[in-house]
């Protein structure tokens, strides 16, 4: 028996049981925002002419001033979690957005000791030995007090401490590990020949400068003239799939040199150093895409394209040059996305580069787009923003989709500013917003854009973004800089351009060499701005401009004030200088509130508008509900014995479907299907589904009473629009009725109708009860079942093949519920979702769906195929295998041929959203090209080549995406790997308390959600729980026992968690069962079950209130994929394989029978619905039929007392 000793000793007096009896002295009275407040949002970053940085949330409608307003900026470049910028002091800053999860890095040092007969183990080492304090290799001296923080933006989390965990096992000896000599294999146990020992000290540091601009040390080289940065771009986060969150930060100096910031990643937001990247010519501006595109512009007007960027070489290898669209107007600005390049030439025309992709980063040709822009910026999902040339308004390119990357129209963003908003109360803001929210583009045509000074243009050929630099030169002179306002800027430039050097401010370099100071671009005589893609015609500015020849800067200053007031009024839009959409996730289906007044009642935003005027809205709706109820009472109550005027009649839906026939050879046969509804004598409605088929020219039919149907499962067949229909008998047979429709619409109609009929005949409708059991299939479909009290009865259990499951809209990988109605889910892309209380969605439209609380939900997953090669002496590894070999392109097993071209998304609901790319994250590791080697197929693969390896393979992944609807709202921004909500008894007196919810992020951070309640199921914020290694699974029991599983396969118990101390105090390390790595844990009322990677289910023995960690693991069953222990200590699992009378099903819901207080491990299994189930949560199911008189009898075990053994 392994005991769960811990260096920190047994838990103190406030162990979980004691904690649960505590009454919270501070009942929570905080009112939390409604769940809708947790709408996921990301932000657009922009700089206005005064150098102020603003953000605009995708969920918001106001520009918010950046929290850290000390600095004025010239440029910003955003990623989702951070933003880099160049301030007016020419320094580079990074703004790391705050998050509930800290950025923490571990520092390690090793203490080394050698044994000598005199003093035993001591730090007196041999001369040839390593230092007493070293790094892991022993080569570097590393005393604890010598480990310094890398910058002032970090702080220590705690002091140094010894790491007790050695490969998942506690060392129990102060962390010492023993070996014969340095360097050697270290073991936990001291042996007779252990001459040396070492132990690991660890200490965490935290990045503290979040939500503020942190200065990046400049690259000053005292030997050279200062060369401040001129432009900067952040990207590259998709080059590697690793969770470290690599970022490529590129910068360009005023002298045209290109710099790359080394080692920038999420855990190291500042990076380490600047390194120079050679460029053939002087670079003016640079843009780095999320993936492997990097373009720059040259002062001469061409574009420079970086080639050879990949995960091993994020800096790329070489440059090629792309000529501008026309020779007379060079490229002034360029911006790249994943697969697109947009550019602005000196004449302000906007260009789209055709044919750009990873294989051909240069693309093929330029296409001119409508509109004139100062700059454009490509953000996430290749969405595009621009700053209008004349009005300096912000434009969004509408209609950019994967199939139409160039989009359709420019649409002005007319969001107000925070300051505007603050003038009026929140209730009236919507109305007052009406005055500056408009759908039209404000015409700036009459604000006198001036002619261009031709001579100036010759002198200043620089690709100018002049206004920016200028206005930032006088940040304290708002009048002056705003005078360089819309359209007039170019004239102002003339004068101010000369003023530039005089003003100094580090712009000296600008004055010399090619004048990088604002060079006005020419205004073509005829502006090509057409009205086609703008809602309101704009006046061609050139007409009015023609009237003001040779306007000088001064004169324009004099002319402007009238226009100025018009444009800089409180209600008007800011004038923009720069925009970055690198952190702004807009999708084709997104509903943005940036362009118009908010619609009040369109279903998609109904709840949002509710949150604006909840009281009022609720009042009229409540009144209607109430009056209707009263009306029904008044008009019907005393007259129910009256005859109905209209008798209910049978309504039949018929159609043609295909049926997977019951006889061999099994195949799809055409059938006629009819659904008949009728009203029974008791007034209840029921339906029969008839399936008419022809066999041997004989007409036959089968029929199914819909009140016997237990579940309808859609789309189990990739190629067909099919569904499976189960009854208890069919569940036992593992042989459902498979039906297929010809179109998706047809399938959805049938599914919705049949599902509605099933629900009707069982009188199940509306939102599931808080105690519902939730489950998920391997297709991500969500099912919910109302537990009958007999399900967990002490005797005469309801067989679980009789449970009725109905589908909920949405797509999830995991779902967890609690008996107070809080339900959370996690998608395949690890997005966290909270249940909104609606029902329906997906294919359940109309009556089967609630009107409110249904939202768009998307999910992304990868499809994997394998490229297999065999070595031969002549040509080395080739795609020519032996005749006996597997397919050279195959699935993981090698049995199915899977080519890049032939592999389709998992079902018709999915669409590809990326190209095939090599997956380097496969277990066993890969070489630089992603290959894994083995002696033969199939064998265990390793990531390096040896002499004995004759075959190799590599994994290719391709992302696909599904968009559906369902009663789910995203809980942004942290993505999760696992989640657990405290199971509670419905009568528990905790209703005032917030609900404990624990989660593990997909990066392995353990998190505790604060503020979760029935009214606010999404909670308010995460509390990060520090761990010494990434975690995989967490579960909280009814008495606040928090158990977790770390990625190394060992378990941890969290001490002292209670309502008043939601985070507990410390982790107690619990070794896994011998030679097993745990992967999941589930804690009920008192029972603790864990699951290992080999499908074994373990029960934790010896848990008592005074010793909550228990003493040992007891094997319960094999063949288990997933376990869920509920508030009654009931145990449900997903069994891997279950043999039925007709067929075998994989992924089957099973219920542990014979679970009793004295026998919590139970006796056997009862088998429920199966065939593709992946996940179940019974943690909300807290009712049980009371004991009957014969309670003393031993319940009979319907199944044999061993695991759900497969045949």
């Amino acid at each position: 028996m392994v005991t769960a000793e811990s260096s920190q000793g047994p838990p103190g007096p406030n162990h979980p049981w004691a904690g649960s009896q505590d009454t919270d002295p501070h009942p929570s009275v905080t009112s939390f925002p409604p769940a809708t407040a947790a709408m996921p949002s990301s932000a657009l970053w922009a700089v206005d002419l005064f150098g102020r940085v603003h953000t605009l949330s995708t969920a918001g409608q106001y520009w918010e001033l950046c929290r850290d307003t000390q600095l004025e900026f010239r440029r910003v470049s955003a990623a989702t979690q951070c933003c880099w910028g160049i301030a007016c002091d020419n320094q580079v800053y990074v703004y790391v957005c705050s998050s509930d999860v800290p950025i923490r890095r571990r520092e390690e040092a090793y203490e080394n000791q050698r044994w000598n007969p005199v003093s035993g183990f001591c730090d007196t080492l041999l001369l040839s030995d390593r230092c007493p304090w070293s790094d892991v290799s022993g080569l570097q001296h590393r005393p604890l007090d010598g480990v310094a923080l890398p910058s002032p933006h970090w702080e220590w989390e705690s002091d140094w401490y010894v790491d007790e965990n050695f490969g998942g096992e506690p060392t129990e000896k102060g962390g010492w590990t023993y070996a014969i000599d340095f360097p050697a294999t270290y073991t936990r146990d001291k042996k007779w020949n252990s001459c040396v020992r070492r132990r690991k000290w660890i200490r965490y540091r935290r990045y503290k400068s979040r939500d503020s601009w942190a200065k990046i040390p400049s690259k000053e080289d005292p030997k050279q003239l200062p060369d401040p940065f001129n432009d900067l771009s952040v990207g590259g986060w998709e080059v590697t799939e690793e969770p470290v969150g690599h970022l490529s930060v590129w910068a360009v100096s005023l002298q045209g040199k290109v710099w790359y910031r080394e080692d920038v990643s999420h855990p190291n937001p500042e990076g380490s150093s600047w390194s120079l990247v050679d460029a053939p010519e002087e670079v003016a501006q640079i843009s780095c895409g999320p993936y492997d595109l990097l373009w720059a512009t040259l002062w001469e007007g061409q574009a420079l394209v970086r080639e050879g960027i990949n995960r091993n070489n994020p800096k790329g290898s070489s440059w090629s040059i792309v000529e501008p669209p026309t020779s007379e107007n060079g490229i002034m600005h360029v911006s790249v996305g994943v697969g697109v390049v947009w550019a602005v030439t000196k004449d302000r025309k906007v260009w789209f580069r055709r044919g750009v992709n990873s294989h051909n980063p240069c693309g093929t040709s330029w296409v001119e787009m409508v509109g004139e822009m100062l700059m454009v910026n490509v953000g996430l999902n290749d969405q595009v923003w621009g700053i209008g040339c004349e009005d300096r308004a912000m434009y969004f390119r509408q209609g950019v989709t994967p199939s139409e990357l160039s989009g359709k129209t420019w649409k002005a963003i007319v969001a107000g500013r925070e300051c505007d908003q603050s003038h009026c109360g929140s209730s009236s803001s919507l109305l007052s917003a009406g005055c500056f929210f408009g759908d039209e583009v404000r015409s700036s045509g009459d604000s006198a854009p001036s002619d261009t000074d031709a001579s100036l243009e010759v002198e200043k050929p620089g690709p100018a973004l002049p206004l920016l630099a200028e206005s930032l030169d006088n940040p304290r002179n708002p009048k002056g800089s705003s005078a360089a306002g819309p359209g007039t800027g170019r004239t102002a430039e003339g004068a101010m351009g000369n003023a530039c050097p005089a003003q100094g401010r580090g712009e000296a370099a600008q004055a010399s060499g090619p004048d990088k100071c604002p060079g006005p671009a020419s205004t073509p005589a005829e502006l090509p701005w057409t009205n086609i893609d703008l809602k309101e015609p704009r006046k061609a500015p050139s007409h009015s401009a023609a009237g003001i020849p040779e306007t000088t800067g001064l004169s324009s200053l004099g002319l402007l004030p009238l226009g100025l007031e018009e444009h800089c009024g409180v209600d008007d839009q800011p004038l923009w200088a720069w925009v970055s959409g690198g952190g702004c996730a807009v999708e084709a289906c997104s509903v943005l509130k940036w362009f118009t007044v908010q619609p009040g009642l369109s279903p998609s935003v109904q709840t949002l508008s509710l949150s604006i005027t909840p009281a009022q809205t609720a009042a009229w709706r409540k009144q209607i509900f109430q009056q209707l109820t009263e009306r029904t009472k008044r008009e019907l109550e005393n007259f129910r014995h009256y005859e109905q005027a209209v008798e209910q009649s049978v309504w039949v839906k018929t159609g043609a479907l295909q049926w997977w026939c019951d006889w061999k050879p099994h195949k799809w046969v055409d059938v006629r299907v009819a659904l008949e509804q009728f009203t029974g004598h008791d007034g209840a409605r029921d339906s029969i589904l008839f399936i008419y088929y022809v066999v041997h020219e004989e007409k036959k039919y089968i029929h199914v009473f819909l009140n016997e149907v237990t579940v309808l499962v859609p789309g189990l067949n990739e190629a067909k629009h099919s569904f499976a229909l189960y009854t208890p008998e069919r569940t036992r047979q593992r042989w459902p009725v498979h039906l297929a429709a010809t179109t998706e619409q047809d399938l959805n109609d049938w599914l919705a109708l049949l599902s509605l009929s099933c629900c009707e005949s069982r009188k199940v409708h509306g939102r599931p009860s808080p105690q519902a059991i939730w489950s998920i299939t391997c297709k991500g479909d969500i099912f919910v079942s109302e537990p009958s009290p007999d399900l967990e009865a002490h005797e005469h259990l309801l067989p679980c093949d009789q449970m009725f499951w109905r589908q909920m809209g949405g797509h999830l990988r995991l779902v967890e519920a609690n008996s107070r109605g809080v339900v959370w889910g996690i998608g395949y892309d690890n997005t966290a979702w909270v249940y909104t209380g609606g029902y329906g969605g997906g294919c359940f439209q109309g009556l089967a769906s609630s009107t409110s609380n249904i939202y768009t939900q998307s999910d992304v997953k990868c499809v994997y195929i394998y490229e297999n090669q065999r070595w031969n002496p002549v040509t080395g590894y080739t795609s020519r295998g032996l005749p006996t070999d597997r397919y050279m392109w195959s699935d993981a097993t090698g049995l199915q041929e899977c080519t890049k071209a032939g592999t389709k998304p998992p079902s018709l609901q999915w669409t590809w959203v990326s190209d095939w790319s090599v997956d380097f994250s496969v277990p066993g590791g890969t070489d630089q090209e992603g290959w894994q080697y083995a002696s033969d197929f199939p064998a265990s693969y390793h990531g390096y080549k040896t002499m004995k390896d004759f075959v190799r393979r590599r994994c290719w992944a391709r992302k696909c995406k599904l968009v559906t609807t369902g009663p789910w709202l995203e809980v942004a921004p942290i993505t999760l790997g696992d989640v657990s909500i405290i199971p509670e008894m419905p009568d528990s007196s905790r209703s005032g308390h917030s609900i404990a919810l624990w989660a593990v992020s997909d990066k392995g951070d353990v998190l505790c959600r604060l503020g979760v309640s029935e009214l606010n199921p999404a909670g308010s914020s995460w509390l990060h729980i520090g761990t010494d290694q990434p975690f995989a699974s967490v579960s909280i029991g009814a008495c606040y026992q928090v158990w977790a599983v770390a990625r190394d396969g060992s378990a941890f118990y969290r001490g002292s968690v209670s309502p008043s101390q939601p985070a507990g105090d410390c982790w107690y390390h619990i070794p896994p069962p011998p030679k097993q790595r745990l992967k999941q844990v589930s804690v009920g009322q008192t029972s603790v079950y864990a699951l290992d990677e080999n499908g074994n289910l373990w029960y934790r023995q010896g848990i008592t209130p005074s010793y909550p960690q228990g003493s040992s693991w007891e094997h319960v069953s094999n063949n288990v994929r997933r376990v869920s222990v509920g508030p009654l200590d009931q145990v449900w699992v997903i069994a891997d394989k279950v043999q039925g009378s007709h067929s075998l099903s994989r992924g089957t819901v099973c219920h542990r029978t014979g679970v009793q207080p004295r026998e919590p491990q139970g006796q056997g299994w009862d088998y429920g619905i199966g065939g593709g189930w992946d996940h179940i949560s019974v943690r909300a199911s807290a009712t049980r039929a009371p004991w009957s008189a014969s309670q003393e009898e031993e319940p009979s075990a319907p199944q044999e007392a061993h695991g759900p053994v497969c045949c």
Binding site: L431, W620, I624, Q627, T632, F639, Y642, E643, S649
Partner: protein
């Protein structure tokens, strides 16, 4: 929490307990018992009174029977108004059951349309739906539907099949996401106090400035006499389906949820009961 879907059900399954009595002057062979029936509020009198007709015809001679018509307290009941509307307008303040007098002769040609068969009701019903969709979607939705969809709407009403009806009708209640509602709200306002049968005008669900119009806005615009002055006493009830929605209720929501199957909001303005 109650869902908006439940409103649709409540509206559909609204029933008025009714007592049919044969007009005293009708000639019968033996005494005619009153006939009690639950009438669906959303249906039409002549569509749901086959049983009534049969019941009274049993006690009458064949030659005394001509087209059936109904009357309440001296007012002939227009079969082409939905039953709920007739009740709200004429009888909402009286005690239940609703006492309707059945006539078989002296058809009031001036007041009523003839209803020779169910086809006449169907034609009337479908023309209302089409008119409503012309207002809501420039007829685009109804025109895109197939003949069988039209039939399903009618059959749904005729057979009192909520699911069958709403499976199609929900399409008539949709509107483009970028709009905030229908083009115009199909409504009719009825008053007993005026000669005019009803008021019907073009009225948009959303104001030019973007905010949603409410029931109060509508009344202010088209029937200002219906609403009480701010400080004045409430003189009228504004009733739909036997309930009085608050004047703050958005009109678009009302149109989606409280319209009759013919897709019109039939609003009754009736004097406030004095007691």
């Amino acid at each position: 929490m109650t869902d908006d879907k439940d409103v649709l059900r409540d509206v559909w399954f609204g029933r008025i307990p009714t007592c049919f009595t044969l007009y005293q002057d009708e000639i019968t062979e033996r005494e005619a018992e009153p006939y009690y029936l639950l009438l669906p509020r959303v249906s039409y009198l002549t569509l749901v009174t086959d049983k009534v007709k049969k019941h009274f015809q049993k006690v009458m001679r064949q030659e005394d029977i001509s087209e059936i018509w109904f009357e309440y307290e001296g007012t002939p009941l227009k079969w082409h108004y939905p039953i709920g509307l007739l009740f709200d307008l004429l009888a909402s303040s009286s005690a239940l059951p609703w006492n309707i007098t059945v006539h078989f002769k002296s058809f009031p040609e001036k007041d009523l349309l003839h209803c020779p068969s169910k086809d006449a009701i169907e034609a009337h019903f479908m023309s209302c739906i089409k008119e409503a969709d012309a207002l809501k979607h420039k007829s685009q939705v109804i025109n895109e539907m197939q003949k069988k969809d039209h039939k399903q709407l009618w059959m749904g009403l005729q057979n009192d099949r909520f699911d069958q009806f709403w499976a199609i009708n929900r399409k008539l209640m949709e509107y483009p996401a970028e709009e905030n509602g229908f083009r115009y709200i199909p409504f009719r306002i009825y008053q007993t106090t005026t000669e005019r049968p009803f008021i019907q005008k073009l009225f948009r669900p959303v104001a030019a400035e973007g905010q949603l119009h409410t029931l109060g806005d509508l009344l202010k615009e088209v029937c200002p006499s219906a609403i009480a002055p701010e400080d004045g006493e409430k003189k009228n009830q504004v009733m739909i389906h036997g309930i009085e929605p608050m004047l703050e209720t958005p009109l678009q929501w009302l149109s989606e949820h409280l319209s009759y199957p013919d897709n019109f909001l039939h609003i009754s303005i009736i004097p406030q009961p004095t007691d």
